[in-house]
Each structure stands twice: as C-alpha cells, then as structure tokens.
C-alpha cells in the first residue's frame, strides 16, 4: 500500500471529519485523485471512517462514476440517451473508438483515456453531447470527435477543449463551459426580472406557519413530477418531532430528456437558495443540502462561490437578513452517476454516504429523513417557485395555470424540433401549441415526462400539460415520423435496466425480461401472444415495485402498446409450427461447428 494513497485518503477523510455519512465525498475525491477506488483504498477508507471494507465496496460498486478498476486519467463519457442516438451518438462513439484505438468500455493501454457510454447528461437540447471528465462538449460531429480525440492523445487537457463559452453564466470564470442555456420561452414565475430576495425578506416578516399557509393556498405542487403539495409537505416536516431538521434540494434531474435544472442552477441559483432558506424558515431547519448530480460537476465551483457570496451578504449563515435566530446554511452534495438518486429516499441514502437504495416508507422523510431527522426534499423548480410565490402572494400565483395545477411549468424540449430548449409555460398548455412553438414538424410521437411518463400519438396532441391530464417533471421529447417506436422503447428499457438499483425483484428482473421481449420483437421473433405477455409483466412490475422507478419503468411499453399498437401488430407473426421463433438452432451450433470442424448435417 503506497504512502501516497494513504495520504490522499487521510486527507479526503479528514476534510470530511472522518464522518461515515460523508462517504460519497470521500470516495469521489479518491476516484478523482487516483482514477479508481481500489480494494486497498477501500480498506484504508474503512479504517479511517470506522466501517467495514465491504461497506465501502458496496457504495463504490453502486455508482457508475466510481470504479474499483483503474480508469484513464481522462474519461470520455458519450451520452447514449435516445435523443443523442437520434442525433448520431453511435457515429460519434465510432469516431472516438477508431481515433483512440479503444472500444467503448475500454481504457487505453497507457492508462490515459477511458471511453464509456453514459445515460442522459442533461444536454438533450444540444445533443450529441459528451463529458470529458467534468467538461461538457456539446453539438458534436464526427469531425469534432476525431479532432478532440487527437488533441487528447497529444496531451491536451479536457479544459482546453472548450473553445468558446455559452451564454449567461456559462461564461463565468468558474464555469467556462460551452453549454448554452437555450431559454426559448420565458414565463411569469421564474424566468422574470424581479427584485432579488424579495420573497425571503417578506417571509421573515411573517410567522413560519403563515408562510406555509401562503404556499398551501397557492396550491403549489412538487415540480419533480410526483406533484405532492409543497405546503402540506412543509407542514408535516414542521410538525414532525426532532431537534434537527433538513431542507434538501433535489438537483439530480436524471429523467432522460430533462435539463431544466441545469439552466435553473446556472441562471437562477440565488432564487433557488432563497426558496431553500424560506423552506428552512418554515420547517425550522438550519441546514440545507443541494444534491447535485455528478454530471453537473462542472457547475460545482461556481455554485459554491455563490453560496459563500450569499453568506457574506447575510443571505445564508447566522441571523439571515438580520433576523435573530434565523440560521440557515447550505452544503452541496455531489452525486456520482445514478438515476435512482433522483428518488427522494434514495437521494437521502446517497447524502448519508450509502448506496443509492430507496428507503422503506413509511416512515416518510418528513418524519424520518436525512440521518433519521425530519427532512423535506423538493425540486429545484419548486424552491424557485416558492421564492416567487412569497414575493407576490398566493392569490397572484393561483390564477396562473389551471385550477388543479397552478403556476408555470418549465419544460425541457428536445428531439425532432427546430428550437429545442427551455420553455416556461402556464400550466394547461396544449401539446399541439407547444409543438408549434418548438418548431416540430411531421411529429409522430411525443414523450411527455420522459420514459417514466407517457409516449403519446397524434390523437392526444390536443391534450394539455397539467397534473390532471398529462403530468410531467418537465421532459418533453419529440419524435418525427422517421423514428422507430420500438427502437425508442428498447432504448428506454435499456436505461431502466441499467439504472435499477436492484433492491426489489420486480424492477431488478422484470425490466430485464421486458427488454428481452422487446428485443425479440424487434428481431422479428415476436408473436401476437407477446402483447399479453408484456402487459401482464408490466402490470406486475408497476404494482409490486418498491419505488417510483419500477412503478413507472414499464410506461414506455404500456403507453406504446396503448397508443401505437399498430407498430407492434405490424411485426408480430403467428407461428403455426409450434417452434419458438426465439430459438436459433444455427446460432446455437456455431461454437460446436467451429470446435469440431464440421457442419451440421441436420440443420
């Protein structure tokens, strides 16, 4: 065991107070410094924070950005989300692979470069995109991929790949990213000019209960997708017994096709912090955590600088805005590549330095959340909305949108359209109007709410976006008539198989079985009875899964069967001879034919 490794680990652990609950920060630091968290490293970390080695291994093996085996100093992660694939991610991967001389999943012989696929990195509006370490490279082409490969091979740093900066804060010295905001439509709640901190300043003149009651009468519901009334959540958390309480912001948007939080974090971070501080005031908490997805690490330094500026301005820390006894601070917890951590109890597990397994509910986070203390977990957009609601008032807010879905909703629009980007609409916008605004032509299908939402066809384009009709956390992916629905379904199932935490049976295995069947159908080996097989399997996975991931992962299948049944029927063939179309005798004999040097005389 090298002294150097020991020193790195000692430093990483000590900077986290040797606190087991900060294990994520520790292993991420070790991964960054050493290119791996090896078994030796796990042993040392375990000793330092007083857990077992297998506890550390359990965490490291869970997150896709962490690895036991050494990765290259530079890791190129090619986003293989459906939208990126539509924009040519396969060719990009091929270009990297050829130029670097390694396959996807491999590390170059000299240990400098690793090439991997990664699910949606929140850049669908500028796909195809990749991450080179923490640096985001957008709008790639095959030529660009080749020149990037060559530059990296000749020793260029990932940072040097960024030639020009995006708009807004993307060009801030602490971001220096080519990512663009692409804010196409501004609404009246979030993307507005407003007096900074007006909500927070007003809130502290009121009693916490009264602030909660404003939020309740605004009828604000959670913007992550589930739509739980925010005021009620805060009321529960406030009422829960506990000396210490936490306000957690879910900035782990991982739903394929979602990127609104990326833009909110870049441009509206103060508004988010304002909302979180109001949350702290309401529930009686002095600690906030922002769980930032690992893919957005490029924003971390910028955000941390913002936090310290807020502290200096007395907008965070002790006696906020001069209000005696109102203390509230925020730390950023970075993730490491796990979609499931967007599920609020999995997110809490991750914040506690554990595998991102969802927790058993009840108890709900409001009673027993982060480190067993009452915790409210809310979406980035929800906190921003809170700041605005308190600034204006509930009456102003509740007339925006529809009766059951007040306010605005920020949509991340991508796919087959000429104006992908961010759209802030009043709730109740018609799908067809949104498509028109986005410059979508010849649209065959729209995925509302990402793969855990619904894939709808033309007959539903007159429906509206709101909690009571088409609910969405914000992901909108548009597909034109050239797209193969079954291929899309397959890709999203691959995503869920990859991202299932594996805790419960139906999600761990059911999604694999769904994917297998869809692949068989795509290969022309499907039969009419497969529809019922799929429907029964989907129902089992949805009804019996432990958390929202499994309860919604069959949605690409169920909604495509419901809305595009004809694409299934077109490829399903009745098989009269009683043989299983999925059994391939020729393929199953290949190995023996090669080994024995003769061909089958029967087949």
């Amino acid at each position: 065991m090298s002294e150097k490794l020991f020193q790195i680990i000692k430093k990483a652990c000590e900077s986290c107070g040797n606190d087991r609950a900060r294990l994520m920060d520790i292993v991420i630091a070790v991964q960054k410094n050493c290119g791996a968290v090896t078994i030796d490293a796990m042993e040392l970390i375990a000793k330092q924070v007083k857990v077992q080695r297998v506890d550390v291994e359990s965490v490291v093996s869970f997150y896709s950005f962490l690895s036991k085996e050494e990765k290259g100093k530079i890791v190129i992660r090619i986003c293989n989300d459906v939208v990126d694939l539509m924009k040519g991610a396969d060719n990009i991967a091929k270009a990297f692979s050829e130029t670097l001389g390694i396959k996807v999943g491999q590390t170059s012989a000299d240990g400098t470069i690793s090439l991997e696929y990664t699910p949606c990195i929140g850049l669908s509006d500028q796909a195809p995109a990749i991450l080179v370490n923490e640096v985001a490279i957008t709008n790639l082409s095959v030529d660009k991929a080749k020149s990037i490969s060559k530059a990296l091979l000749s020793g260029a740093s990932p940072e040097s790949l960024t030639k020009e900066f995006g708009d807004g804060n993307n060009s801030d010295e602490l971001v220096r990213s080519m990512v663009k905001n692409n804010i196409v439509k501004k609404g009246s709640v979030i993307f507005v000019e407003r007096v900074a901190e007006a909500g927070l300043k007003k809130a502290i003149t009121l009693k916490p209960e009264d602030v909660i009651s404003i939020i309740k009468s605004s009828k604000l519901r959670g913007r992550g997708g589930a739509g739980f009334p925010t005021g009620m959540k805060w009321e529960f958390t406030r009422a829960a017994k506990g000396n210490k309480k936490y306000v957690v912001c879910n900035a782990d948007e991982g739903e394929p096709g979602t990127f609104k939080d990326r833009v909110l974090l870049t441009e509206k971070f103060d508004m988010l912090c304002e909302g979180m501080a109001i949350g702290g005031y309401c529930i009686g908490s002095d600690s906030g955590i922002i769980y930032l997805r690992g893919e957005y690490s490029y924003l971390k330094a910028f955000l941390e600088n913002k936090l310290s500026k807020r502290k200096k301005a007395s907008l965070l820390g002790k006696s906020i805005c001069g209000k005696n006894g109102f203390n509230f601070d925020i730390r950023i917890q970075i993730g490491a590549g796990a979609y499931i951590c967007g599920e609020e109890t999995a997110l809490i597990s991750s914040c506690e330095g554990l595998r991102g397994d969802p927790k058993t509910r009840p108890p709900f986070p409001a009673q027993k959340g982060y480190l067993a203390s009452p915790t409210t977990v809310n979406n980035v957009e929800t906190f921003c909305s809170v700041a605005r609601i308190i600034e204006k008032d509930a009456a102003w807010y509740s007339v925006i949108g529809t009766k059951g879905s007040t306010g605005t909703k920020i949509l991340s629009v991508s796919g087959d359209c000429s104006k992908p980007g961010i759209y802030e609409y009043d709730f109740g916008v018609k799908v067809s109007d949104m498509l028109k605004d986005a410059g979508a032509k010849d649209t065959k299908a729209v995925l509302i709410g990402g793969p855990s939402g619904q894939l709808i066809g033309k007959k539903d384009f007159g429906r509206i976006i709101c909690y009571d009709d088409l609910a969405t956390g914000g992901s909108i992916v548009i597909f034109n008539s050239s797209r193969n629905i079954l291929e899309i379904v397959k890709s999203y199932l691959e995503f869920f198989v990859e991202e299932s935490c594996g805790y419960c049976t139906p999600c761990r295995t059911g999604n694999v079985l769904l994917l297998n069947k869809i692949e068989e159908i795509l290969e022309g080996k499907g039969e009419p009875s497969d529809i019922k097989y799929l429907e029964d399997l989907c129902s089992t996975v949805k009804v019996t899964s432990r958390c929202g991931l499994g309860q919604t992962s069959p949605n690409p299948v169920t909604s495509s069967i419901r809305n595009f049944r004809e694409v299934y029927e077109a490829v399903l063939k009745t098989n009269e001879d009683g043989r299983q179309p999925t059994f391939d005798i020729k393929a199953s004999l290949e190995v023996a034919e090669a080994l024995q040097g003769r061909k089958s005389v029967i087949y």
Partner: protein, 181 residues
Amino acid sequence: MEKPKVATTSLAGCFGCHMSLLDIDDRILKLIELVDFDKSPVDDIKKFTGRCAVGIVEGGCCNEENVHVLQDFRKNCDILISCGDCAIDGGIPAMRNNIPLKECFDEAYHDGPTVYNPENITPNDKELPLILNKVYPCHHVVKMDYHLPGCPPSADTLWEALVALLTNKPVDLPYELIKYD
C-alpha cells in the same frame, strides 16, 4: 373407438422420468386400456406411426438431435408435456451453461481426473450429433403445453396428469404432487 396414442422420449435426461412412469405399477394396465403407446422407448417404436394425443418429453436439449426429435414431437403430438426438471429448466446438464464448450470438451475428454484417453482423441465422428452452445429447456425450443416438475416427477404425478389429459379434465395437481426434486 380407437384409443388415443401416447409417445415418449428422453432427450438430455437420465431416463429417470421414464423409470418413474413405470413406477405407476399395476396402473400401467389401466393406462394400456386408455392409450396405445406410439414412438417410445417403452415399446421401442422408433418412428411416429400416426398422430399422437400426448407426447411426454424427458430431458432438455443439449445437442442438435435433441432439437430435431423435440421438433418432431411437436409436429406429431397434440399436447406436449415437459416431464421432469431437465425438460423444464435444463437440469443437471445445464450446469455447463456458463462454461465454454471447449472447456467442457477438455474436461470430459482430456483433463478430467477419470479420463483415460491415451490417444488424446476428442470424439468427432460425423454420426455424433453436434453439441449446442447451451442446454436449452424444452419450452425454449418449441411450445410446451404442460410442465410436470420433479426429479423425477413421482409416479402419482404422472398418473394424475395423464389420466386428466386423456379424460379431458383439467390438470390440477394437489400440493403433494408438485415437487422439484
């Protein structure tokens, strides 16, 4: 009225399921009243002589001949039964499913502790059916109508199921007769 026909075969199995069939003891006389045996090791008929009501298949598919016979059974039988664990899940032969074929051959013919093979020959006569990459449960190869688990299924299980099928009653096995060992 002509009696319905029953055919049986053992693919990648050990004939234990057939032994269990013989274990129905004197009930075999009643069975003979109900059915005629067609292609089966019981009467050594090698080829189907006509359409069969029921085909009983023991063992999974480990080589091309197994596949061929199973497909022949599917073609000639109205109802096809996976009889015993090997037919249902591959059984003991399927333990090789995660071992490369080459390693299986080397162990069987060259490296295994009990191998005597002074000329170091890997059998490769053209009469020998080629081995499949994996052992396949029967229902992975053709559609199977019923599954009778057990290693082997007990004589009572086989009797109950056969009588039900031949008298057009539902196959509804009681707790004692569903066993996987």
